[in-house]
Symmetry: C2
Amino acid sequence: MSRYGKRADVIVHELEPFNAETGLAALAEGPVTATDAFYVRGHGAVPEIDPATWRLQVRGLVERELDLSLPTLRETFREREVTATLQCAGNRRAGLIAIRDIPGEAPWGPGATGTATWRGVALSDVLAVAGPLREAAHVGFEGADLCPEATPAQRFGGSIPLDKACRREVLLAWAMNGDPLPAVHGAPLRVVVPGYIGARSVKWLQRIEVRSMPWQGYFQHVVYRLLPEDGTPGPGAGMPLGLVALNADVLSPADGATVAAGPVEVVGYAFAGGERHVARVDVSIDAAASWSQAELLDDLGPWAWRQWRTIVDLAPGEHEILVRAWDSSAATQPEDEAALWNPKGYVNNARPRIRVRAVA
Amino acid sequence: MSRYGKRADVIVHELEPFNAETGLAALAEGPVTATDAFYVRGHGAVPEIDPATWRLQVRGLVERELDLSLPTLRETFREREVTATLQCAGNRRAGLIAIRDIPGEAPWGPGATGTATWRGVALSDVLAVAGPLREAAHVGFEGADLCPEATPAQRFGGSIPLDKACRREVLLAWAMNGDPLPAVHGAPLRVVVPGYIGARSVKWLQRIEVRSMPWQGYFQHVVYRLLPEDGTPGPGAGMPLGLVALNADVLSPADGATVAAGPVEVVGYAFAGGERHVARVDVSIDAAASWSQAELLDDLGPWAWRQWRTIVDLAPGEHEILVRAWDSSAATQPEDEAALWNPKGYVNNARPRIRVRAVA
């Protein structure tokens, strides 16, 4: 057993704050990721919160400020459930680090993502009671976790556009996969913003702030921004991340594996953020000269990834298996991983490739 | 002067039905495309409609069927204006045809797109009066234009998800760039679906049909679908197009142009469909070894393209100018145009490249 009730097979990148990704085998177990295998991305120590005295504050550009206890939240608003994939903006960073080092950033593989069923209330229902004022354009979230890496040290936070916040899929969640939300995942209450980078799904939520401008804190105004290759992180530099870009990776076989020649099952995931969904996944074993279509597995709704599988026939020898996903706008992934390198190592969504050796 | 009041410099692909694209110089004149230069994509003859007897029918899964005259539409609903880019799914098909011929499809260059200010009423306001029933999930549009190319011959039509139809940017428009909608652009009334392929902005609208399923007519169920490279068009084959994929092209200099060596201005456009916007445009003159950022020009709001410009310094000799746009999800364009080839030649959104010769 790893820390925080996580399985021994999670890949721990940092013990304090705890950062760990799901192993590929655990991701491949099914379309919903087990809670004890679900990835954790934290910027500060898990805060100790007494649920009895905890209150959710709703502040900022609202007609009515609110202070809501957990029982009030549960009794006042309709309970809702959404199955949604979360994905860290640093997912697959290891591929970029292999091109050029990114000091100070964890080498996440393809397991900084997972899908869970979240239960709670719709943020939009809470906002409707608070009554956003005319100047409201963004909804900010602040957690209880103090993050020493920020300059200055501050609680984790971020915002999403009001338009997104008013959509019913955005939850204030207290349960994950049918169980109470674990402490490491944000108990007593976290935000779940389906289709957005994981950093907007703020854990240990204690304050909602309705704003005219996007969040000016460190975790949105300085980091979680895409810089050009030669850029330098700084306040407002680069483009803020938000919507998740189309991405995919292979879960099995493992990169570098030796497999039996003949029919080989290849499985993986693909995820399209925002209003888009995964429409097709292609696999090539001849360096993109030809492609076959993978089977898309369980459809868990508009906010979840699609796992996929296919069988390729491999003769004895070395092979490269290439994958490209397509979303519902008919956009596909960029080919060249090196061209995506950026100083913080975000959004590696190049089409995945693995090498395997087939033996007779 | 070309037909239908279009300028002589439009590039006519077909006289009947009339199909013509905007010349690059006309697109480069500014962020709003002049009506007399705006591209036309038609599948049937421009129908003759008497606005005095014309009625908009609202049918299907609604509490109340409606038959609305133009004066009733104008007097009953709030007038709204949206600046939106329309883009044909076949835009930039010429690049795919250069790789392998696509018989029967027009070789559109980068001018099957344009931006206009549209005025009319919100579809959502009309739907609110009709009252979609619980089973409603899509909103179909049928024009008055009979299209002999369809099997069987039928009026042009298509649908969008109800969720999109309920957003206030989707218009039933009677004016374009401040003037009455020209006949060739759909008078007396057309749909404008910002962020979706042009084919969903149905012209000469005569019937709205609220449905449980997407449109089953030829122009959504057979064509305007992305097939795999080896696919065959047929009912339901391939993925339906809808949201526009991130795209960009160069407007000046022209591909193959000879320019004076030294500082050369490069201008173009970039467009991201749906909820996304253009976040960055990069230009390279050294085969993608390094990139500089272009200046993004006038921001006409969330539904319009961004034109961009930059200055590159060209020594005497042959040069290739490469461009890649990024959208607000940090997604960029795929590199390889050949890998995007598909039997109907849709959605060529490879990063653009032009060749120029600089002379001292």
